[in-house]
Symmetry: D2
Subunit: 349 residues, 4 copies
């Protein structure tokens, strides 16, 4: 089958590899109908993630149709349309039982593709082996399109978790740092907690414009210090909650400086740096709560589904490009360079 | 000045009484610009509340302009437009400090007017003495109309607290029992917690119609058992949360029966009966949470204000009648009899 | 093998039945080393539970050693010492995934033995078939005795959940209604939440004495109205939290009347009555939270284990009788009649 | 009267200054019976805090007897024994009403003494003016000694808040970084949340010894990397919660590295550095919660009082030295140099 392989910095290629097959009796093989390129794929594309080997199949956002299941799989069967989370979890170990499947000790905190691609080839492909299918696969009802369901397995759950971790209460003001795919879905999700106002911080015009259409007031980084801008629009105190969806030192510090005393900074940025500067004295005197974290997406797939179905979450609004799988190399480039007003790029085998 | 006095069952009258004046150095006198008739006023109107004496001035929902303040009042001053909660609290006793001002030991859990009317004459009047003005009065900005601000002191806060106590989470289904003024504001408030669906239970057509306009699916009591209807529309399990805004045994039991296992029933109905039947065995096996309670409205006035200002709460939508204060007797009748599609009746001195 | 069968009101007998065997590939057969008689077994013994058939094997509190497992069982294997919860759950259905395994739709909310005894014979026996063994069985380390581990599957988890649902905060005062096995374990568990004082309400002297040894101040029902007694010892306000471990109308109402305004009543009594009286008006004006509910014991087995291991929970202190399995009829009688200062009766095959 | 003045780095002196008097009608003057030297006083003593002027009176931990009150003070009167929080708050501004009195906008986030000493002279003195006495002063019952009550105004509340912010649940393992006065009181407080085990990290033998007497397992920094030591004693995963009571980059990073995935780091160290290094990538992949913050001590005085009264908190156990006020210079030196096994130094006028 066709799949997208990492071959070096800024070099991903369409290659032919063997079809996946059932290895364990708890496996499923899923024929992928839609996958996507994730911001964290770009970290690998940029060569900033150690441990990835040439030839590794990329991608961890996907959905599709079950083609075959192992003999112990009961929850799904051939023909079911399913989505699965980006991280691979057994559902049975101590960490999975605690509700932290991203920490699964059975799989060693594995994620589909990329640096785990040798053992668990990625989802930018025509088919994928999904281990622990009973735990991993969630059926999708026919009234949901691929575009609505796909992001449940990663960025919609991540954006939602970011908003939820912010502890937003009705009437709060919320600042979203970063209007990439995750930031925009965090923004959509923030509305579910009843804030009076949402501010969206970025410098890319077309992304700020979509943020505005999604109900936020834009704060353009090119128009001055975002901390000062946010204080000005919140009567001096700063927003109650900051959602940080970038993953760099600068927006992280800005979020801490902007938020009001007693507020919360929730960060879902995937930090590549081991250590960054942290304004500890300000965080102390402002009595802050910080939530950092990789999203346990499995936990969110079921609860978020009705919100997508009734249209309170509209994840498909961030999709700007849908390309054939074979165009993935171009998809990476468009997404990386923000060409053609790109926000989110889907791949269709 | 003119004020509305209780004279007996179904008998309220416009009477002339002495103007209020500053008694304690912490008092304010407020010239009332708008007051309202509350569902709990009807309990008194029906003679179902012991302890009320003929001549008691009624009313506890009001707002207005400060006319005079005692010498220790600092938070408000003459000319300020203010709203105050229905219950009278010192802000300093053990209960007030715990965040339960309705339990104030200084005032003996007093409420304006009605059965406390001798000591604290009510707000269906031209003026009112507000004790502990620093704690009780909240300034209203000029961009809010009386109709937007008035309900912060009672039914909007009560409706909101009902929704908040329900512990609604994004994606939940919610059933509101009772589409009177409090139920409709509970419904509006429920939206702030991101439910996928809201159901509104009542039998009065025009009230169900407004509930529908406010985003709920109507469940008409005349079309069959609401428990069965609610199960049918929730895939058999029942809603996650029931908000009970009636205050009778029947809807309370229906709420318990309807809600899903592990769900929550939040009740703000003012129970006149000392004791009602309670389906204990079902509540036990369904692992329910019940929240009962009078609303500590003072706690909600400030947090809810921005939600009214941005239009996420639109309390004025339930107002059906605005009468001169002198027409209060007619206002009670209209409200009580649900004449002329009445939902909420305001009184303007 | 030998097992204890229900034969009628106050009539349980030792009978010989066929040994259990693996039926489903997810089953385990456990050789029971210790089981117990539960308060809810007495409801059946008294003939107050409809649906139980003569010959049904009783008992749902047990632990033992795995003798055989089905071919899909991975988490436990032959020779493992295990405990399991009283309710039977698949671990995979919607309810189990929500964290409410007592509501399992696969098993129809089944419990071992008694009225479910036809399909799921009980644990007062030499052996038992445990369905869904991967989900149900938890391994017990060798440093824990049977007496320490056994109650994790039911009454220790139930008592703990009762305390946890009470929302006790450090410094609170807590009243425990009922000093039977569950009440005494709720009392032990309450200490884990840092209350300043615990009061224990009962009328049985030797049970109040043990409550006192466990750190509570006894409130003897024979010395007057417990509501008044509790108010007296709490400066008039009543305890912050009431834990109700009886399951009758009287202590339930007393708990509501005793607790302070804004407090919580957590009830784990198994109500036999469909409906009981409920002091709604008092609950409303006191702004109460009520938690009712059957315990999802599976959720508590792992978290409570370290507390038993370090001795912060000492469940074995309530054991008063350890009888051979063949003496179960006498065990029922002793427990039912509170003979010989009985609190908790174990049965050893 | 006599008071302790800052005169330069490592230079504090006993000086004679004018007695305080009532300035505002909401003031009280308190005759101090006991004060203390706080770890944050040492930051000033070391010259690490900008803005302090020579002659500033030091100290913010105190209790005493009310000598005189302004005409609007009602909650306390002459002769009352009282304690007050270290930070000065009006009780009425937006921040105080939100429950964040340390952020009081009326006083500009002031603290008694030190760099605020010009406007609000400190408490290492014979008398002190306490603004907003109704909000600030809490009466102490006669069954509590000064030594039991004093720390409610600062370090006991701070230690408790640190533990509470950690979100400790029964059965958790907890690591306390730093066995100074605040760390030891955080340790005592942690017990109130029911952990199975507490570990205390420090390198000072006599402090580790007291930690052990208070129920913790010592982790000596001189015996190797505390992260490795903590992993070893927690089966490899690390403690559930880390309480950081030092306020430096190294223990902060160690706390983050040590704590288990999904855990919480609660820090009450007063950071002198504006920015410190932060292991962002680890915090992200471990899904951490961080709580930073100055303690709103006023909120804790009343709730913690019963715990001190029943002996569940024993703050006096950390007192090692009680000196006459005139010996304050020696007290600073002893405390700073950890001479004579010093932990906490009291000053008696």
């Amino acid at each position: 089958m066709k799949a997208i392989a990492f071959r070096g910095v800024h070099d991903v290629r369409v290659e032919s590899i063997a079809d996946p097959r059932i290895v364990e009796p708890t496996d499923a093989v899923v024929r992928i109908t839609t996958s996507a390129v994730c911001g964290s794929d770009l970290h690998q594309y940029h060569g900033r993630v150690p441990g990835i080997e040439p030839g590794a199949i990329l991608g961890h956002e996907f959905m599709g149709v079950v083609e075959e299941v192992g003999r112990e799989v009961r929850a799904v069967s051939k023909g079911d349309r399913v989505v699965a989370p980006f991280s691979i979890s057994c559902g049975r170990c101590e960490w999975c039982r605690r509700g932290l499947p991203t920490q699964c000790s059975t799989t060693g905190r594995a994620v589909f593709g990329g640096r785990f691609g040798k053992q668990y080839p990625g989802a930018q492909a025509e088919r994928i082996r999904v281990p622990f299918a009973d735990f991993m696969c969630e059926k999708i009802s026919s009234d949901m399109s691929d575009e609505q369901a796909l992001f449940l397995g990663d960025i919609l759950s991540t954006g939602y978790a970011c908003a939820e971790n912010g502890g937003i209460r009705p009437g709060d003001s919320v600042a979203v740092f970063g209007c990439g795919p995750v930031g925009l879905l965090a923004l959509q999700s923030a509305h579910l907690f009843g804030p009076a106002r949402i501010f969206a911080v970025d410098r890319v015009d077309y992304r700020l414009k979509l943020a505005e259409e999604l109900g936020a007031t834009p704060v353009n980084l090119d128009k001055g210090d975002p901390v000062e801008q946010l204080r000005r629009v919140t009567g001096g105190s700063g927003p109650d909650v900051a959602l940080e969806a970038v993953g760099h030192e600068v927006p992280f510090a800005q979020a801490i400086q902007a938020v009001r005393a007693g507020g919360t900074v929730s960060s879902v940025g995937v930090y590549v740096e081991q250590s960054i500067g942290f304004p500890a004295r300000e965080a102390f005197f402002k009595d802050l709560t910080l939530k950092m974290g990789i999203c346990n997406a499995r936990n969110y797939i079921v609860p978020l589904m009705p919100l997508v179905q009734v249209g309170k979450l509209q994840p498909a609004r961030i999709i700007t490009h849908t390309l054939p799988l074979g165009d993935a190399p171009r998809g990476y480039k468009i997404f990386d360079q923000k060409e053609d007003r790109a926000i989110k790029v889907l791949l269709k085998p």
